[in-house]
Symmetry: C2
Subunit: 204 residues, 2 copies
Amino acid sequence: MKIVASVSSLSEAEQASSLPSVDVIELRLDLFDTFPSVEFVKELTKAKILTIRKVEDGGQFIGNDEERLEIYGRYAEACQYADVETGSYDAFFDLPCTIIESYHNFSETPSYNFLADLIDSSQGDIFKIAVMGRSKKDVVTICRILSEYESVVAFLMGREFSYTRILAVLMGAPFIYCHTGSAVVSGQIHVKTADKILRLLGVR
Amino acid sequence: MKIVASVSSLSEAEQASSLPSVDVIELRLDLFDTFPSVEFVKELTKAKILTIRKVEDGGQFIGNDEERLEIYGRYAEACQYADVETGSYDAFFDLPCTIIESYHNFSETPSYNFLADLIDSSQGDIFKIAVMGRSKKDVVTICRILSEYESVVAFLMGREFSYTRILAVLMGAPFIYCHTGSAVVSGQIHVKTADKILRLLGVR
């Protein structure tokens, strides 16, 4: 599994690039005050995930889809992965990157069948599910998804469900999304904490 | 949750008694070369679980049930908990301790319904399920049990499923069974490792 550092500024990106515990940097460009140059992105010494999240998906990008696609296109050559929300129109899935199709739900964890249907109709290469945890039943739902599907990252948001992020990689998820300073989402853990826990469990 | 050190000798018991990360000592009397005195057990500065496991349940006690019950009775006053295998006859459940009714399966993980039936017909106070993990589906089974029942410790044995021991306490299991030197069961982790992981996850 790979430890992903989600970063929201140039300085965080540079810092993440120098951390041994970080395997991949997710550039949350919607959270950047100023966009980096393509050269800057290329020079970061890790694999990169390109993410430009809209407000309705929990991000801060306020332009339209054409503008968003244009920005994705600009950075695509410098990034191995692009995160594209499920339901995005086809052009997003044609970006020359490994596509992480993502589903976010900040209010609840939908049913197993709802989530399984999303994965079954996926156009991406990897599917990411980040949903709000409310009860232990939600842990079971995520656990079932991780048991049934490969190439899926699935975890519960919420402080008390932080451990489902660890559970996911232990059950085969390719990535664990972490922070390098302060959590941008409830329950996100520090890259160094994730690295320590996974080493203590003997899987890294 | 409480970190339990399973010990198999007098020296391990004394060592566990002095470790800050240990909350409870499980005295696996069936693995002791010589039985400790009741005074020795009383002087251990932690809560104690009294366990005398028969060969057919994965232990090394070779006497009959009458002898076993006599030994349980001898130490019961010095121990807060007694581990009694499910299906033991009633007198074992009358010991003056909190009863941990346990089910072990060293070959597979039975179905959810089989395990749920065991818990539903339990005579003990806490139910412990330790079953061999073979696939991710077994993780889902354990996760469902932990979601549906309180006062249940449930985890998968096997090196690659060590993390289910951590998952269990994060989902509300009262105990995590650990070792203080070398694992007596595949996948068991060190008390200090469990303590570190749980602290890193912010739950201890």
